[in-house]
């Protein structure tokens, strides 16, 4: 078992063996979860602070359940209730949380790089729960965990990620993780949301959905954040759905066993046809369940190490 760090800031810096360590441990925790029993590897007496400075429901709740399933004490701070609204700097907030005796901080923040900034500021393990358009490692790890459950080894498998890639931390973390495990990753979407420069990071880039779907072993759809991009990145949601949405006709192009993932929340009828989201190929709800086991593994690996003063 190889694990060389106290913080999980992203998948880009991880070694393959470290990813394997998390996934192995998650598998173990998933069995405990199914039996509803407290694992012997737990975080009893540890204090986990969820610092969520951007709206989030499922990630925050999943981290809370994961921490509680390890018997840790969890405190969740949402941006509305923190002192940030009063103009406190992130550095000061972090130092205060450290002073309150946190054993690990799970942070969600709209600014890329803020978990790294925290980890340099205070000697407390930092777990990135999504930072701007940078990384969302726990989401990618649960995606990879789910993909492996369904597809076995990912080496040589074709994974298509379709949607708003430019602003997506999920796409970036998946790219790093999947590439390390030997998969081929294709980013698909309008040219304004899938710039060619992603090729330099190791992804295939395509603007042709139909062609990409034919080869896919799995397709991951990303939420279209129309409140942000509809004015300048594509003409309208209707046009997006027409050109890039996963509808019944397009779903027929998929291999029969190809699986469909979505990190949620879903816009039914926009990036995915409602019935496809509920079809037998969809693993969207398994992703959510697996998310708890994966986050238990992350919390255990990061928070179980004594903090040096």
């Amino acid at each position: 078992m190889i694990w060389n760090r106290t913080s999980l800031l992203g998948l880009e810096p991880l070694e393959v063996q470290e990813i394997e360590t998390i996934l192995e441990l998650a598998k173990e925790f998933k069995l405990h979860l199914q039996k509803k029993e407290l694992p012997s590897k737990n975080l009893k007496g540890k204090r986990i602070v969820n610092l969520f400075m951007e709206p989030s429901t499922r990630t925050r709740v999943a981290f809370e359940i994961a921490a509680k399933s390890l018997s840790a004490d969890v405190i969740s701070i949402a941006s509305q209730s923190s002192s940030l609204t009063k103009g406190e700097t992130l550095k000061d907030t972090a130092k205060n949380i450290q002073a309150l005796g946190a054993d690990a901080i799970v942070i969600r923040h709209s600014s890329a790089g803020s978990p790294l900034f925290l980890s340099k500021t205070i000697p407390v393990p930092i777990i990135n729960a999504g930072d701007g358009a940078h990384e969302h490692p726990s989401q990618a790890l649960l995606d990879i965990f789910t993909l492996r459950e369904k597809l076995g080894t990912l080496s040589g498998k074709n994974i298509v990620i379709l949607g708003d890639i430019l602003f997506s931390r999920v796409a970036r973390s998946n790219l790093w993780g999947l590439k390390k495990l030997g998969a081929n990753v294709t980013f698909v979407g309008p040219s304004t949301l899938v710039p060619r420069d992603f090729e330099k990071l190791g992804a295939n880039v395509s603007h042709n959905v139909n062609e990409s779907l034919k080869k896919a072993d799995a397709i991951m759809l990303l939420r279209i954040q129309h409140e942000r991009q509809s004015t300048s990145h594509f003409p309208s949601l209707e046009e997006y759905t027409k050109v890039f949405g996963l509808n019944m006709d397009r779903a027929k192009l998929l291999k029969p066993n190809a699986i469909i993932l979505h990190p949620g929340p879903i816009n039914r009828g926009v990036e995915i046809d409602s019935s496809i989201a509920d079809s037998k190929n969809s693993v969207i709800l398994q992703q959510v369940t697996n998310g708890i086991a994966v986050r238990m593994a992350i919390l255990y690996l990061c928070a179980n190490i004594p903090i040096k003063p």
């Binding site: 550095k91 600014s111 890329a112 790089g113 790294l116 900034f117 358009a133 990384e135 990071l201």
Partner: protein, 424 residues
């Protein structure tokens, strides 16, 4: 009057293309010829054997933040920092508190500068009121109140009509106009140059296009109105190409770049270090090479410090929240020399051209040479001595300088303004 004899120094002066060991004489505040002081004994002799004497540096862009007081920077601290870096004249951008968009505040700043500045402190007046690009500021009255140039830097007037009229109007008063080329609709949320580096980091939004479109605008405006325009802080290869073409057609545009764009690329921002969040952002190797070539060939005329002080707590923040801009007055010359001395002959002469002679010509102000009869603004440099700058010795009130902890060579040993030592 006091006579100062500068003996045995290597005199580097682009105005007369001098680069030789020779003696200089200063009487009072001015350089004089030896025969003018014949028979009078010098009060002071400085033996400058193995030292360089360059015209004092003239900065085309810096931001003092406050006229007086304040904890980021003010006229007193910025002029001391400038003197530390060998600058004898600086041009303050109008985004001071209070902003230089009206004669009253211009006069107040002028008054404070006359009291607090240790070097020649020049003011740029705003092109538009509050620098917000909506209504022209009273440019004629600003000139009467002592401004020597007009600009909305660090902003750029987005409205083309107001920009064109402002340039035309300022030309009537023979005031140089400086544009900081940034088209805002393409770079509104820009935190970094759009490259694969920024893409991986989840940053970006300040593409080359945002600069190049407005470089082209200035070229077109200059050509059609027949008036000079200066482009500040050039960071992109495409801009250098546009300026090259414009100059070869005889269009009257000039341009500068910054020491950080010569020294660093966007690879430096990889760990979200906000001291490399510059304004405009650091770009790629190809941009840097084009800018250096542009300097060597004369497409880029000058190097400005782009000294933008920010308080530490503001820089110690999330990358997209932290303000852009770095300090560099004290390290500018040393950084430029260090960066370009390897591949460039006669680097001292070139520095004198880019940092002294050309900026003074662009601003139409005194300085930039070592000619008898002119103000004795000069620097003494020990070419053998290098240094690692740190935040502890800077005279600036801010420490957001990306050149700290790097070996730079050489450093300024002494700075003279009007024949008097202002830094040693």
């Amino acid at each position: 009057m006091n006579i100062l004899h500068l003996k045995n120094g290597q005199v580097v002066d682009p105005s007369s293309e001098t680069n030789e060991v020779k003696d200089l004489w200063v009487q009072g505040s001015k350089f004089v010829k030896e025969e003018e002081i014949k028979g009078q004994a010098p009060i002071e002799v400085l033996d400058l054997r193995d030292k360089l004497i360059l015209p004092g540096f003239v900065d085309l862009r810096c931001h003092p933040r406050n006229v007086t007081r304040g904890s980021t920077e003010n006229i007193s601290s910025i002029t001391k920092t400038a003197a530390q870096g060998g600058f004898t004249s600086i041009l303050a951008m109008p985004d001071i508190s209070p902003s230089i968009d009206n004669p009253g505040d211009a006069r107040y700043a002028r008054e404070c500068a006359d009291r607090d500045a240790v070097i020649n402190f020049h003011l740029a007046g705003a092109l538009t009121e509050n620098l917000n690009g909506k209504k022209l500021s009273p440019i004629g009255s600003l000139k009467e109140s002592g401004v020597v140039a007009i600009t909305d830097c660090p902003k750029s007037t987005q409205n083309n009509e107001i920009f064109v009229k402002g340039v035309e109007y300022a030309a009537m008063f023979n005031l140089p106009v400086i544009d900081f080329p940034r088209e805002l609709s393409l770079s509104k949320y820009g935190t970094a140059h759009d490259s694969s580096v920024a893409l991986a980091m989840g940053l970006g939004g300040y593409p080359r296009m945002a600069e190049e479109l407005f470089v082209q605008r200035s070229i077109t405006v200059s050509r059609n109105l027949g008036v000079p325009l200066h482009l500040s802080s050039i960071s992109s290869k495409g801009s250098v190409e546009l300026i090259y073409e414009a100059k070869s057609k005889g269009i009257n545009v000039t341009a500068d770049t910054t020491p950080h764009h010569l020294f660093f690329t966007d690879a430096r921002i990889k760990d979200y270090n906000t001291n490399f969040k510059t304004h405009p952002p650091l770009r790629e190797q190809s941009d840097q090479e084009a800018i250096i070539k542009g300097l060597e060939e004369g497409t880029i005329d000058a190097i400005c410090s782009a000294h933008e002080p920010h308080q530490l707590y503001l820089k110690q923040a999330e990358y997209d929240v932290a303000p852009a801009g770095v300090t560099s007055l004290e390290t500018c010359f040393s950084a430029v020399y260090t960066r370009l001395s390897e591949n460039s002959d006669d680097i001292a002469m070139k520095c004198a051209k880019w940092l002294s002679y050309n900026p003074a010509k662009i601003l139409k102000i005194a300085g930039g040479d070592l000619e008898p009869g002119n103000q004795a603004d000069f620097v003494v440099v020990n070419p053998q001595e290098g240094k690692i700058f740190t935040e502890h010795e800077t005279l600036s009130l801010s420490t957001n300088n990306p050149f700290y902890e790097m070996p730079l060579k050489p450093v300024v040993e002494k700075t003279f303004v009007s024949g008097k030592v202002v830094y040693e």
